[in-house]
């Protein structure tokens, strides 16, 4: 896992050559390109509604106003969706981490009849994208009566074979001696798992949790299919669903977009290092 070493290992400052200066300029230009669409969304959301489609474009309208934010916040839907998104993402993340860690520990550390076959079955699931199952899965949800419920969104997302694979590889590398000492002291496997193995695995569990949270928060297709009642929608699904009701109110539309995009950006700004590490680790380890 040397991939996590900090970039600057030489301890000396890099020299400013013309080449490096050119690289800096190129990088800054690319930063501008990447930031502009977001900046434009914010700028539009702060304009009076009548000035949002002016040409040639102006970054700042005649006044800076938070009217649009006030309007969309007052409508109430947005707060409900925000709550739904947080609830669904947190529940999905907790369930995914617990279920996948337990399963991975079982596959890595215990032996029972059919273990190899079952693990093979789980690994095969890595190749099944959830998107190809939408039709039969939806029919199943209708039969289970889970359409338009939180559980209907959450449950199909919690058994993630790739996460089991990542955790099995991690547990395989943990020395057994740590657990054995506890067994000798009379602890059962259940207790050893929760009090020794889980705390020991915090970094990899954090990586799995971060990855799961981001993908659940941003998941569109499944919540879009399984919720028809606006009150139960997640933030992105709700926004897309009601966009036509915004009419031509661009400032309000962009205010909603900013509110919907902001939570994860704030989380990222706070936990940049952990998130970068978690995403890179989980993204690569899946291979």
């Amino acid at each position: 896992m040397s991939a996590h070493a900090p970039a600057d290992t030489t301890g000396r400052r890099a020299r400013w050559t013309p080449g490096r200066a050119a690289m800096l300029l190129a990088a800054l230009a690319l930063v501008v390109v990447w930031v502009l669409p977001l900046a434009w969304a914010v700028a539009t959301s702060l304009k009076p509604e009548g000035e949002t489609t002016k040409t040639p474009l102006e970054w700042i309208g005649s006044t800076i106003t938070f009217d649009a934010y006030r309007q969309v916040w007052k409508s109430g839907d947005l707060t409900q969706w925000l709550f739904n998104s947080v609830y669904i993402s947190v529940m999905t993340t907790v369930l995914t981490v617990v279920l996948c860690a337990m399963a991975a520990y079982g596959f890595s550390r215990t032996d029972f009849r059919g273990r190899k076959a079952l693990y093979g079955l789980v690994l095969a699931g890595i190749m099944v994208p959830p998107q190809v199952l939408i039709a039969p899965l939806f029919a199943e949800m209708v039969q289970l009566g889970l359409v338009d419920t939180y559980w209907g969104v959450i449950l199909p997302q919690v058994a993630v074979p790739a996460m089991v694979f990542i955790l099995v590889k991690f547990f395989d590398g943990v020395p057994r001696e740590l657990e054995e000492a506890a067994f000798v002291d009379g602890a059962g496997r259940w207790r050893v798992f929760w009090t020794i193995v889980m705390p020991l695995s915090r970094p990899v569990l954090a990586a799995v949790a971060i990855f799961t949270f981001i993908s659940t928060w941003n998941n569109f297709l499944w919540p879009f299919l399984v919720t028809t009642d606006p009150g139960g929608m997640t933030l992105p699904v709700g926004l897309v669903n009601v966009q036509s009701s915004y009419g031509l109110r661009y400032a309000q539309m962009m205010a909603s977009v900013v509110i919907a995009g902001l939570p994860l950006l704030i989380v990222f700004a706070l936990f940049q290092r952990q998130i970068v590490r978690g995403v890179a680790h989980t993204g690569l380890a899946g291979q």
Binding site: H4, W34, P37, T55, A159, R176, V257, Q287
Partner: protein, 322 residues
């Protein structure tokens, strides 16, 4: 990642002689190692069975029926749905759109990801700025990205893209999302902006894993920056590139969100991906049997890509082991 881990060594077969231990110890330990295995695995398997294995199997049954959206009310029709799908021009056109999007998006997404990672890695300063601006869009939901580009970036005339062209003296008035010539390209642009940060991070992690002394040695030998890039960095990144390309191809094939939100598959179905056709057949056309059949055709395509990838990665691993 661990090559040889201590866990494979039987616990009692260490430096300690078994005879010196109390007779009960190895036995309890062995019992502990094996007990409760299924208890740990069962909860996962319950959900896995209910929401992956079962729909996968029941979907095969459905694809051979004329079921409605609730999965009921149909009768067995054998392979009729598959036969119909293979003759359905909409299946072929949306498959083609999906593949075309994958081709158009994979190259810029991989190359841009690499370039951004190289810039960030070699500049070594203000890392947080590079990460924040290039990776942050990846953290936005597709709904947010889609609405942003649909409402204020790509509208003709007053949209930001057109106004930016006008600012440098070009003619605005491009139908970014409404003109068949540009719609797919606009979706590719949006996707690159949105998701390149993921590839950027994967490349960045790989770059940071390259031992610094290789560069120092090359520098002592008088190798220039370009030389070091061509003969050290890029060869050492080839495995990562393989992974990134495969992940990207698989992700691009599953495109749905941004197209559905930005163009609804239009103009004239020219951007409609296969997943949207599955959605239309099943969820707005109420033919879940037919939708399942189309899903499995799409699944076959994904499986082929995955299997090719498996072969390739096995081969490179064998080559590396040699």
């Amino acid at each position: 990642m661990s090559v040889t881990h201590p866990a494979t060594v039987p616990p009692a077969a260490g430096a300690r002689t078994p005879a010196a231990e109390p007779a009960t110890r190895p036995m309890t330990v062995r019992r502990h190692w094996s007990e409760h295995g299924l208890v740990f695995v069962a909860p996962f398997l319950l959900f896995y069975g209910l929401f992956l294995v079962w729909p996968l199997l029941s979907g095969i049954g459905m694809s051979m029926s004329s079921d409605n959206i609730a999965g009921t009310g149909g009768e067995f029709v054998g392979f009729d749905n598959y036969a119909e799908a293979l003759q359905d021009p909409n299946v072929w056109s949306s498959l083609w759109n999906t593949v075309w999007f994958t081709v158009l998006s994979t190259v810029p997404l991989v190359v841009t990801g690499l370039v951004l990672a190289l810039l960030s890695h070699h500049l070594r300063i203000v890392q947080w700025l590079w990460r924040l601006s290039w990776f942050a869009p990846f953290l936005l939901p597709s709904g947010v990205v889609g609405l942003l580009f649909l409402w204020v970036i790509f509208p003709s005339d007053f949209g930001f893209a057109d106004q930016a062209l006008a600012a440098v003296g070009l003619n605005p008035g491009i139908g970014w999302l409404t003109d068949e010539r540009y719609a797919m390209l606009s979706i590719v642009l949006t996707t690159v902006w949105w998701t390149v940060g993921f590839n950027f991070l994967l490349y960045l992690a790989a770059l940071q894993a390259i031992p610094q002394h290789l560069y120092e040695a090359a520098e002592l030998d008088g190798a220039g920056a370009w030389h070091r890039l061509r003969h050290i960095t890029l060869p050492l990144l080839s495995r990562t590139t393989g992974v990134v390309v495969v992940l990207q191809v698989l992700a691009s094939l599953k495109i749905f969100d941004q197209v559905y939100i930005m163009t609804g598959g239009g103009p004239d179905d020219s951007t409609r991906p296969i997943l949207q056709y599955v959605y239309q057949a099943g969820f707005t056309g109420y033919r879940i049997g037919y939708a399942s059949a189309v899903s499995y055709i799409f699944f076959a395509l994904i499986l082929i890509v995955s299997l090719v990838q498996l072969r390739l990665s096995r081969r490179t691993r064998e080559e590396n082991a040699r």
